[in-house]
């Protein structure tokens, strides 16, 4: 806990202790305006549209005679894109084509919220670590461990109703917290870079859970050969929120609570103040008497717990019939994009999660109605993050002014030009 630099981080030794790059990046991303977020989403949807046009069969057919009848190609392109995005809308917000009444037509919106639930929880975990200047890429591992822990209790430890659910939930969250805590501990004690450690822990968790899932007596369903757990007991399943015709369950309420908690933690609590101080500049925080190492451990414990909530959601809410090692379904990585789009602010993450939930829910309608593979969502998502992470690029595309710092826009034009050209 002394101020001497450990051998693993000699890089910062001779220079002035400026905040590490990740902290500055965080500041930039936080400082970006909401306009940039919206524009990034628009740009990403345009990019997705281009991809759809390029791979559309009718566009390819009609482009053969583009120069004799260009309207055919343009018409086909318009149909492809508008078909895709209206299908996305029908699948994620409101299905106006159904004639079975409002209750059915609104179902896609609730599907969106169901998909958003684990995304928000995991996104909060990534965002919280991000506020301290740590990249939590270990969402997958934390989810898997949490899911395995909660799943074991949920499937094999019979308990009275309510208590069972609570115990399974808590055990799962503790599992995620511990898996995240390892990262914080290694970072604090040895200076190991959290990106590498989290990536590696993802794979370790995957193989560990795979092993448990095929080992009788551990997680494998008794009398089965598949690497799959037994079904969750009735008493451990998340109760449905709006009746059996919708998939949405109590997990959505839990993530709202989690969002409020993270908001409170960051903006109203002493611990959150320490978190933010370390996120701004760990060296300055250290000088101010904040125990930076213990902050790293604490934040990774909480972040792991939040991501763990997403893992618990998967086993107790979404895959109650038993889970396999692929239960994270890419949410651990999606969470990074959610956190970035939400600018690492609790409510930003909440709405970013809902947006990505909508993309996910709608992608299935897109696939069934228009034959567009669900993978398009990955493309759109990664474009969104690329654009958000590079505000100068979005500004360049839309010719927006460049507010570098809070006052720099006052600089004379020449100085700004010099800055841009360097």
């Amino acid at each position: 806990m002394s101020t001497t630099t450990s051998p693993a981080t000699p890089a910062s030794a001779p220079e002035t202790p400026a905040a590490p790059r990740s902290n500055q990046i965080m500041k930039e991303i936080l400082g970006g305006s909401a306009a940039i977020s919206v524009l990034a989403v628009v740009l990403a949807l345009i990019a997705g549209g281009i991809l759809i046009i390029l791979t559309d069969e009718r566009v390819a057919e009609t482009s053969g005679y583009f120069f004799s009848r260009p309207t055919d190609t343009l018409g086909a392109a318009w149909q492809a894109v508008s078909g895709a995005y209206t299908a996305l809308f029908r699948g994620s917000v409101f299905n106006y084509e159904t004639d079975r009444g409002f209750a059915i037509a609104i179902r896609p919106l609730l599907e969106t919220l169901t998909f958003a639930t684990p995304l928000i929880a995991a996104g909060l975990g990534v965002a919280l670590a991000f506020r301290v200047g740590l990249f939590n890429i270990g969402g997958r591992g934390q989810m898997l461990i949490a899911a395995a822990a909660a799943g074991y209790v949920g499937a094999y430890v019979p308990l009275p109703p309510v208590i069972h659910l609570v115990v399974a939930l808590v055990v799962g969250i503790i599992g995620g917290a511990l898996w995240g805590g390892i990262v914080g501990l290694l970072k604090a004690r040895t200076g190991a870079h959290e990106v590498i450690v989290t990536i590696m822990l993802n794979y370790i968790a995957f193989y560990l859970v795979s092993f448990l899932l095929r080992t009788p007596g551990a997680l494998q369903a008794p009398g089965q050969n598949n690497p799959k757990s037994g079904p969750m007991l009735e008493s451990a399943q998340y109760p449905s929120l709006l009746g059996p015709q919708y998939n949405i369950d109590i997990g959505f309420i839990l993530v709202i609570v989690a969002t409020i908690y993270v908001w409170y933690l960051l903006n109203r609590s002493a611990m959150g103040f320490q978190f933010r101080a370390v996120g701004e500049n760990p060296h300055a925080a250290q000088v101010a008497g904040i125990n930076v190492k213990s902050v790293y451990v604490k934040v990774m414990l909480i972040a792991g717990a939040l991501v763990g909530l997403a893992g618990v959601q998967q086993v107790l809410g979404n895959f109650t019939g038993g889970f396999a090692a692929g239960l994270d379904a890419g949410i651990g990585f999606d969470a990074i994009t959610v956190a970035l789009l939400g600018r690492s602010k609790p409510w930003g993450v909440f709405f970013a999660g809902i947006l990505f939930g909508a993309l996910k829910a709608g992608s299935f309608t897109m696939q069934s109605a228009e034959g567009i593979p669900v993978d398009i969502v990955l493309v759109v998502q990664s474009f969104i993050v690329l654009f958000i992470a590079a505000p100068p690029l979005v500004r360049a595309i839309f010719r927006l002014p460049t507010p570098d710092g809070s006052f720099q826009w006052r600089k004379p034009a020449i100085a700004r030009k010099a800055e841009v050209s360097k």
Binding site: P7, A8, I25, A192, I196, I204, L208, I336, Q381
Partner: protein, 436 residues
């Protein structure tokens, strides 16, 4: 836990002198001791109670049927082999302790010998009572390691020049996709290989553009690029390749070429010289990257930019351009490795077919301490672990395959946590260069 205070104790020997600073590190002996204890536990405490007979024998086949020179198979008894191995391991540990006491760094060869000893003991124990096709095991390990080695070479170049390359996975996947696509369209695997290199360079181009031009955090770009490439290739696979698999996804594979004479060397020949063109290119790439990095002006400039960009800039090196072109080069190398999946291993593209190989390559870069030769050795070790797992699952082994597959990742965490040796990345790696 950490031996950090001890490492820097006698550091001040000859200030300004040419002799290297003596550092007393206890990490190697500690690691040796841990592995020796693991060996003793496995071989003697756990043992092989499932096998009949008091001394089961492990048979190693040293020749394949088509070899000109046939070697008789090697048979090792479990009891005597494990005893000899453990004694030698204890000796190596004692040696390491003595070296560390004298403030001499434990040499790489001793670590290598120690690792081989452990592996021989482990293999004999795990495959007791069965036959191990040693040639197949090692040749397969080399094959499995090929994309990892390409990936780690690209990673080394990229990180040495100061750009963290998390996107190795994406570069491999992009390379695999483009190789299948162009290889099928032109009918020539060589065009496919070239296309793979272009694809890898393209992914690198995005990384370089965002990281160097727009100062976006390199880790974020890398992570996102992996997702982007996964999404793009999966999307195009479903929309383009699946409906027209004949035209777009049936590349001609590289044939295995046996090099005359060399391939007839007992044991080594079949392992090293009965491989595909990609593997031979890999030998060349390893040498060129090592030679280039440490013996040429290009390498010196590259390393200078990665270690201290301001100093490099002062002496007139264009930091941004050096970074940009070398990241592109790194991408091309990794992309070429990606061609291995579609042009040498499988013969067609599949969704997410690299399946984490890029992250193992990243692990090899770190475990290999950002040095091309060490990174290659690390990649070989990881490839060996993967292949050993599949071989052992055939002969029936006492260790669950998942734990073998986990090995590279555990080893990497141990490495970055600094328990084994000093893990120090290039000083300016991951930091964008903002000209003052």
């Amino acid at each position: 836990m950490t031996a950090a205070p001890a490492t820097t104790a006698p550091a001040a020997t000859t200030p300004g002198g040419a002799s290297p600073v003596a550092v007393r590190s206890w990490k190697a002996p500690i690691a040796f001791a841990i592995f020796t204890v693991i060996a003793i536990l496995l071989f003697f405490v756990v043992g092989r109670p499932d096998l009949e007979g008091d001394n089961p024998i492990t048979t190693y086949r040293l020749s394949e049927g088509r070899d000109a020179i046939q070697l008789p198979p090697l048979t090792l008894g479990l009891a005597e082999t494990t005893i000899v191995v453990v004694l030698l391991m204890v000796a190596a540990t004692v040696g390491a302790v003595l070296l560390s006491r004298a403030a001499i760094r434990v040499p790489l060869w001793l670590t290598t010998v120690f690792a081989v000893l452990f592996l021989v003991g482990f293999l004999t124990w795990a495959a007791a009572g069965a036959t191990v096709p040693l040639i197949g095991l090692l040749a397969g390990a080399l094959t499995v390691s090929t994309p990892l080695i390409f990936g780690s070479l690209g990673g080394v170049i990229s990180e040495r020049v100061g750009v963290v390359n998390i996107a190795i996975e994406g570069q491999l996947l992009g390379g695999a996709f483009m190789a299948a696509m162009l290889g099928s369209l032109t009918g020539s695997p060589y065009v496919g290989l070239l296309g793979a290199m272009v694809a890898g360079a393209l992914v690198s181009f995005v990384l370089a553009a965002f990281a160097i031009r727009y100062f976006v955090d390199q880790v974020i770009v890398g992570v996102v690029l992996n997702v982007l490439v996964l999404g793009l290739t999966s999307f195009l696979y479903s929309t383009v390749m699946v409906p027209n698999a004949e035209t777009f996804n049936s590349p001609e594979k590289f044939e295995r070429i046996a090099i005359p004479l060399l391939s007839e060397i007992p044991v080594l020949g079949p392992i090293l010289f009965r491989q595909t063109v990609i593997v031979y290119l890999m030998y060349l790439a390893i040498f060129l990257v090592w030679f280039g990095l440490f013996k040429t002006r290009w390498g010196l400039r590259l390393r200078a930019v990665g270690e201290h960009p301001t100093a490099a800039d002062t002496v007139g090196i264009n930091v941004r351009a050096t970074r940009f072109w070398n990241v592109l080069l790194a991408g091309a190398i990794v992309g070429g490795g990606g061609a291995f999946f579609t042009l040498a291993a499988v013969g067609s593209f599949g969704k997410d077919m690299t399946n984490g190989a890029g992250f193992i390559a990243l692990a090899a870069v770190i475990f290999g301490r950002w040095d091309p030769i060490r990174a290659t050795l690390a990649a070989l070790l990881f490839g060996f672990a993967t292949n050993l797992q599949s071989t052992l699952s055939i002969v029936g082994s006492p260790v669950p395959s998942e734990f073998m597959l986990m090995l590279p990742y555990v080893v990497t965490i141990v490495a970055v946590a600094g328990f084994v040796g000093l893990s120090r990345p290039p000083a300016a790696s991951g930091k964008p260069y903002l000209k003052a």
